[in-house]
């Protein structure tokens, strides 16, 4: 938690902490090992690894969090509509979601990003497109259950409008599981984004992202003699994903009274 907070804050104030321009090559300082002026060393064309990492985390978190906000919003809207009105609209939406869910995530994102060109916005959009069915299914199920509860039935019979009942009575009561699943969604999105830029389909160079820093390290020379170039982004990804997953577990334990006391 503390770790995650530190990482997030560091990412936000990255420009203040970075002592070097992350994209500016410095040919006099090529492939320096960590230590001294360059905290985590420099890459083959003399860019400061530490500064690049700061910016990379910033991008990763920005992409993942925006994408998850988007897909959660879509999933909540469609899911509550499907669960609340049931009938044909539920049938149609559920079939579409099932089709999306059965398709492997990475090939789908790759094809989407390839089609619309690799850019920050398109990566976010592609992640939102593949992410919403999961939220949809959760929200639909919760809404189906919530709609039968007395206070919702009371709100309906008192003549509350559909939209009002959904937004005022149903959604606030099923928020907890949605937040938990969104947290795990962020971890997933960070991994997918990193994988995408590792394949060269994410953020375009020279901008740094955690994935393309690893992509640059794919040659045997770098692997063997410049381990700081690939170890640091890799360890950082693992740390971030682990802490986000822990946060998700912690939230689930907080929100779910059945799990309390374990």
């Amino acid at each position: 938690m503390v770790l995650l907070g530190t990482i997030a804050v560091t990412a936000i104030v990255a420009p203040l902490l970075a002592r070097f321009d992350p994209n500016l090559p410095n040919l006099a300082h090529m492939s320096r090992p960590p230590g001294g002026e360059h905290l985590l060393g420099t890459d083959q064309i003399g860019r400061d690894v530490y500064s690049r990492l700061l910016y990379a985390v910033r991008v990763s978190l920005l992409v993942a969090i925006t994408a998850v906000c988007l897909n959660t919003a879509i999933g909540m809207l469609l899911g509550s509509v499907a669960g609340f009105f049931r009938g044909w609209i539920d049938q149609v939406l559920s079939r579409i979601a099932d089709a999306f869910l059965s398709f492997p995530v990475l090939p789908l994102v790759i094809v989407l990003v390839a089609l619309f060109g690799p850019s920050l916005v398109n990566v976010i959009a592609a992640l939102a497109v593949v992410g919403w069915p999961e939220v949809f299914r959760l929200v639909r199920g919760e809404t189906l259950a919530a709609r039968e509860r007395d206070f919702v039935q009371a709100a309906i019979s008192l003549g509350g409008g559909n939209a009002r009942v959904i937004f005022r009575h149903v959604l606030p009561n099923i928020l907890a599981p949605i937040i938990v699943s969104a947290t795990f969604g962020v971890a997933q999105a960070i991994l997918t984004e990193a994988g995408l830029s590792f394949l060269g389909l994410g953020l375009r160079p020279p901008n740094a992202s955690l994935g393309n820093m690893l992509l640059d390290a794919q040659s045997i020379t770098v692997l063997r003699s410049h381990p700081w170039l690939w170890l640091s982004p890799g360890i950082l990804i693992v740390t971030i994903v682990l802490s986000v997953n822990y946060l998700g577990d912690w939230l689930r334990a907080r929100f779910d009274p059945r799990l309390r006391g374990r």
Binding site: V105, P107, V238
Partner: protein, 316 residues
């Protein structure tokens, strides 16, 4: 059973058709085609237009779609733009490497996950359970491209035990030992990643079964514990292994794309990435269709297996 199988295959057709229409529409509606990439800047507008009409790029979308579909049904996915070879042949050459990678990884995952899942469920909250839970946690959070690089660093670069990439030593021809040595690292990386996910799954479904009344009855009758776990509980936890197999196809495909890239494995995943980078749409669409078919086939297989492991499930 046979009738059910046939009906399931028939109901899968609309889904496949939908996927094909969608991918065709999206691909075709994009600005730019591969000619933009291929053409020399010196080519005149007329000769570009002529080249376009030669390969049918100036036809209306619907006609191009129907033409493509007709060929697909006949098993012809058209020609790759970049390589000039039939798409079916290109993909066909990559199937064996990808399937051997996916199949062996799945075997490794299951060989770890099933026994470990049972053991940790039986001895829940024991030492082994804590260790395996932590490892599984780590395993889910480590992306395969990082664990792949780590594996190459350790086993190929530092200790020089195993080859770091490719499917066989170049110029050596087919050699089973050589092939297995090249398979070892990618299978390990992909297999362990899967094992991390499946162990958690296996553990929770086994825990569920262990809580059932009939397990308590079996214990009460004085049946040895080991026999209760393996004969009574495990057989019912198998149902969830089957669900897991259905889930495995998409996640293995996702994993294979990255793992193939890390290990320069000449499989379908690398073909997809290369074709995407080269805007080679016939190949991209061929692979997308293949993936859709695989996913549908995986789901169908899982459904059929349900009726084998769970006699309550009857299809009619």
């Amino acid at each position: 059973m046979l009738a059910y199988t046939i009906r399931r295959i028939l109901t899968a057709i609309p889904l496949l058709a939908l996927v094909s229409v969608l991918c065709f529409a999206i691909v075709a509606s994009l600005p730019g085609d591969y000619l933009d990439l291929l053409a020399a800047p010196t080519m005149s507008a007329e000769s570009l237009a002529k080249r376009r009409s030669e390969i049918g790029l100036d036809q209306p979308l619907a006609i191009r779609y129907l033409g493509w579909l007709e060929q697909v049904v006949r098993g012809n996915f058209g020609n790759s733009v970049a390589a000039g070879k039939p798409v079916a042949e290109l993909i066909g050459n990559r199937l064996l490497p990808t399937f051997s990678l996916m199949g062996l990884s799945l075997l490794v995952s299951l060989a770890i996950a099933i026994p470990l899942g049972i053991l940790t469920a039986v001895k829940a909250n024991g030492l082994l359970d804590h260790i395996s839970t932590s490892l599984a946690y780590l395993g889910v959070s480590v992306p395969t491209f990082f664990s792949g690089l780590l594996a190459i660093y350790l086993f190929a670069v530092t200790f020089n035990l195993l080859p770091s990439g490719l499917m066989e030593t170049p110029g050596r021809g087919f050699d089973l030992v050589d092939r297995l040595r090249h398979l070892a690292l990618p299978v390990m990386v992909l297999g362990f990643h899967g094992a991390a996910i499946y162990t958690r799954y296996m553990r929770s479904s086994m825990l569920e079964v262990l809580r059932q009344d009939y397990v308590r009855t079996a214990h009460a009758k004085g049946i040895p514990a080991q026999r209760v776990y393996l004969r009574h509980a495990f057989r019912n936890a198998l149902v969830s292994v089957v669900t897991l197999l259905g889930m495995a196809v998409p996640s293995l495909l996702s994993g294979a794309v990255i793992t193939e890239q890390v290990f320069s494995w000449p499989g379908v995943g690398r073909l997809l990435v290369d074709s995407v980078n080269g805007r080679d749409f016939p190949v991209v669409m061929g692979i997308t269709m293949l993936v859709a078919v695989l996913v549908v086939a995986g789901n169908l297989l899982a459904d059929l297996l349900y009726s084998v492991v769970d006699p309550r499930v009857r299809y009619s």
